[in-house]
Symmetry: C2
Subunit: 714 residues, 2 copies
Amino acid sequence: MNRSFMHDFMNPASVAVVGAGNNPMKMGTMHALSILKDGFSGRFYPVHPREKTVLGHKAYASALDLPEAPDLALFVLPAAHLISVFEDFGRIGTRYAIVVTAGFKEIGPDGERLEQQLVGIARKYGMRFIGPNCMGIINRDIKLNTTVSRIVGKSGGLALISQSGTYVAQTAAFLEKRGIRLGKAVSVGNEADVNITDVLEYLGEDDNTRAIAIYIETIRDVRRFLDVASKITPRKPVIAQYIGGSEAGARAGKSHTGAMAGKNHLYDGLFAQAGIMRVFSVEDLYGIGWALATQPRIRGNRIAIITNSGGPGSAMADTLDAMGCKVPEFSTDLKEKIKPMLEPHAPCGNPVDFTFALDMPAMTETVPELVAKSGEVDGICLHGAMAAGFLRMVFPHFKDLLGGASLDEMLAASEKDLSGLGRIPAKYGIPMTVSSFFGQEDNYTKAYQENDIPVFDSPEKAARAMAALYHYARISKRKTGAPKLPAGKEAASEIISRAMKRGDAALDEHESKQVLSAYGIAVPDEILARSAEETEAAAQKIGFPVAVKACHPQILHKTEKNLVHLNVGSGREAAEAFDEIQANAGFDTPVLVSRMMPGKREFLVGTSHDPQFGHCVAFGLGGIFTEAMADITYRLAPVSHFTAKEMAQSIRAYRLLEAYRNMPACDMDLLAELIVSVSAIPVLHEEIREIDINPVIISEGRPVAVDALITLAN
Amino acid sequence: MNRSFMHDFMNPASVAVVGAGNNPMKMGTMHALSILKDGFSGRFYPVHPREKTVLGHKAYASALDLPEAPDLALFVLPAAHLISVFEDFGRIGTRYAIVVTAGFKEIGPDGERLEQQLVGIARKYGMRFIGPNCMGIINRDIKLNTTVSRIVGKSGGLALISQSGTYVAQTAAFLEKRGIRLGKAVSVGNEADVNITDVLEYLGEDDNTRAIAIYIETIRDVRRFLDVASKITPRKPVIAQYIGGSEAGARAGKSHTGAMAGKNHLYDGLFAQAGIMRVFSVEDLYGIGWALATQPRIRGNRIAIITNSGGPGSAMADTLDAMGCKVPEFSTDLKEKIKPMLEPHAPCGNPVDFTFALDMPAMTETVPELVAKSGEVDGICLHGAMAAGFLRMVFPHFKDLLGGASLDEMLAASEKDLSGLGRIPAKYGIPMTVSSFFGQEDNYTKAYQENDIPVFDSPEKAARAMAALYHYARISKRKTGAPKLPAGKEAASEIISRAMKRGDAALDEHESKQVLSAYGIAVPDEILARSAEETEAAAQKIGFPVAVKACHPQILHKTEKNLVHLNVGSGREAAEAFDEIQANAGFDTPVLVSRMMPGKREFLVGTSHDPQFGHCVAFGLGGIFTEAMADITYRLAPVSHFTAKEMAQSIRAYRLLEAYRNMPACDMDLLAELIVSVSAIPVLHEEIREIDINPVIISEGRPVAVDALITLAN
């Protein structure tokens, strides 16, 4: 496998900065200071038109004066001055660049033109660049930080890709308090060249990255993103926050990185298809990301709760339960072992409740160890380990009673070696998440953080992170398979080209179903009839009851216009239906005489086309519930059998597909095959714009396409 | 109005503590220290069998030795020793007590007996008490704190009622960091006497309490709770976290306060009925509670976003949009006023994006003022005000450039008077929520907190809190009205007593519908038939198509047993249906011949009975979707017309009730009346256990009870 170019991009041995000076209030200087002060040991070259030295380093008037072509160049100078300097670096052979400068695509057509100039220069010299309008990169492995914030300390297994510079650069204090360390982070800005997918591909390969978090306002190469992400998620968790689904969010997003906002339901589908876990807040992006990056893969969904208080224990239990985990009651054996460590009547059966007893060794060592060893659970959530934080809080109450001891003396006296606090996960392969109402002012919070056990500020979050570990464990076991396109069917091509030649915007229902049928999709027996007599004969042939429906490529909403007769019980009624349809349509139209399919469960299967996502396949609740319930899921077309099944299983109304009331279970393989086939059709026939099959009726357990409309890009 | 006894309970002039000594590691001492050290200026009496003085105060060997009957007595001694001491206080005339001690109902029958003894003594002497198994009370108005944590500082408008002592006592550090101050808090423990509702009633009356938060594991007097809460919520917001819906949550909850866990969907309904806002984490209980307690009532849902970065601005916009708020684009006029304050191409149309510009006066004063004055929005969300926090973070980068100035000197030099930061809400009646990635290490975070502007640690939370203000504004406008019970109908009573006398567990379908009909509920034309001939005649009389259904009080699942024939089109078919039903039933049964009601939209209306909640009325999606979609909402019966309408509007499938596809809108008044009537029936007829009307079909816009089953408590 070729190593991604991003590996070299993220690991330069030398960095030049253009736009840094000796004025600490200038942005360029702030970026340069991060490179200089946060531990990067590579060579540093300031480029400045006038200064002799910048921040104590010899400055160069131009790229052309540099003693070498630096591996990476960082640009923080006004857009108007940028182009020629940028080209200088191309000329000397610098291969990687970061353009921090804003004022490009995000400001409109003028900026867009400037951005294209950058792209042109980069192409010409074979440079790759991040930005413009970004904060650059963090690679803690080599202590390189190009952002304006100070980011120091050892590396971490979480990597971040962000279309907002803020989430890379302005959250350093937020993350430090939570013990979260981004090993690598890339603020991609406008993505004129390097985009999210490029960085994702690299982080997928990077051994030091154990989980990847992405902040997304738009994805510019959806197909490649899906392909790259799908290869990573079985091995490495990827979580994403997508913003831009709302009108105002789109307006905000558009202005700030020049992104075109996509659509919420399509992103939902893309993430599901790629095995990406979606979150809805930046706090979860970091916090759940950190749990994924630090904890061992969970083996199952049985979770132990250890708490110093009932409320947080109950909250953890409820949250775990709501998110698909179990809090199993412990065996009698295990309970007997735990019981002696608790107050006489305290619950020991899971949750284990230490009540307000402050026996920290029992709570944080003995009991977790017993529980981990028992084999009865797959993960541990712990709330309420505390010492110094509580002491600090109540010290003013006690100081008179302590013979003049100071808080520091008290803290020193009660200090303990907590270096072993984090050993359960590594020793037993059992993940652990912790919550505490104390921050780093408490030695337990601090020790857990230092040992890479995620500590959350409330119990529900620790529980949700644990549930996310379980969610990822299921993702890691997916065998999605590649979509297999069937051979294109001549019969379908002929029908479509006939309609194209007629100039119609759609196939009529009969034609639409013939196309579906050519791809093996079950449709009811049906006959096209052009007179009352033909209608009666067709009905007799099919057998009663039948449906009689107008069938004409220019009639798209049959029901609303009273052009559909269902449950027609006799030949005479069928003939009458033909006549009525002619009258209601206002012009002569053939009718389709179809067998009525028994079955009450109605779904929809279809494809839509989006300029950004291309063809997408949809599955959901159909019939009259389509709009009211909006229970529809999407994937990029074509889909594999596995993905089609996942679609069917992911709707809220999934239970309708199981054996339900008097109805047999739907044959899920048949349904998946139907979705697979539908998803392939617009890919095989590029004249097709959209497909709408509604209802697909589950008839005796088998899905049948009862009504269908195929529209054309005509 | 009589003032709640809880007012006096919360405002004692003298407090006795039993169980405090001079050993600071004893729980009793810790409780006493909080009373002594946190500012309470009332009289303090330690009661101790041996010590002469406790914590510097003269100690008394027994209650009987005290110089006065203290207003309040706090007990922190082992359960076994408690009873006689407790009685002593009753004897001397102390009216209020807090029993911190655990080991009562929560440990089983022995504890339950002990708890009943306490209750007996309290009743005998007219004492009211909180607990046992609790942390007691906080009343910051008089600086009284009986918990084990140190809780100091000025009072606040948020009050908490909690069934978990932890949320009153162990979150002091958590709350302080967030600038949240509980003005009053009560840890109710086992609620042997004083319960949530008692405290709620008091807090509803208390002028210093502007919002009430409740942590709930069970409610012991659901009806009174509904009554009390319903009276408060139009004037004062109440939010609640309910835990215990899950099996493990119930196990946890039960063990720690002796609570019987209730049911999630019933609590959902209770909260909706009472106008209580439900949250799902303790962080929201506090954080959203604090926004409700501090901000003026919002007038509408138009929100301005002011940010220093696009990502957080977009996240706020998306979150607001998803929760029912708008982020309207500003007028050209307003944009022109804001534009000069921003970087040349920065968005100014809402969100207003200051990008990374650090012009704090513009961001935190000028622009918010312009926006508030404009009349174009009803609330402001602001992200990214910062100074000291950022300076602290980057100071190590700069210190060499600053001629040896220390961080403190730098901070002092950049210090500003931020006392005016919080003025927008009070001045313009426009609420404001803020988010920052910096905590109190930043002077802006601190100043906002001090001025009672809620500061959240991520943008989504600030947006959610704003949306909650809007949610509450709608609640405050509800005119729920009281349920009006109709007069009991003799016809219904007769049908029911006949079935009771037969010893049946249910009415048959015909009887059930006659009962409904007696209360004005529309049912289809129908005739009971006992032979094939009668069936044919009935069908002819009603007109085709008809339904023919077995009608027998012992046949509860007709469809599953093939005892229902729908769309019967002729007299002959009707007679055949009668015969087939006899064969399938295996015994002779009458049949009900009913007119087929046209209409595809099927709902359910019914009542259920729960030992804790009593009769509850249900409305939801019916027909085959009932279980699959589980889109059902509950309220305590009987309900008012207003509440019935709210039920109908609160299901996910609400759109089905509007004009939809070719179908007319459902007459919502008729539907509400139907729900009102159903909710009254089990209240009027106590022999009724449950009512199940499924489907209620919306036929030409009017709801008709097409199938019904009334079960009896027989």
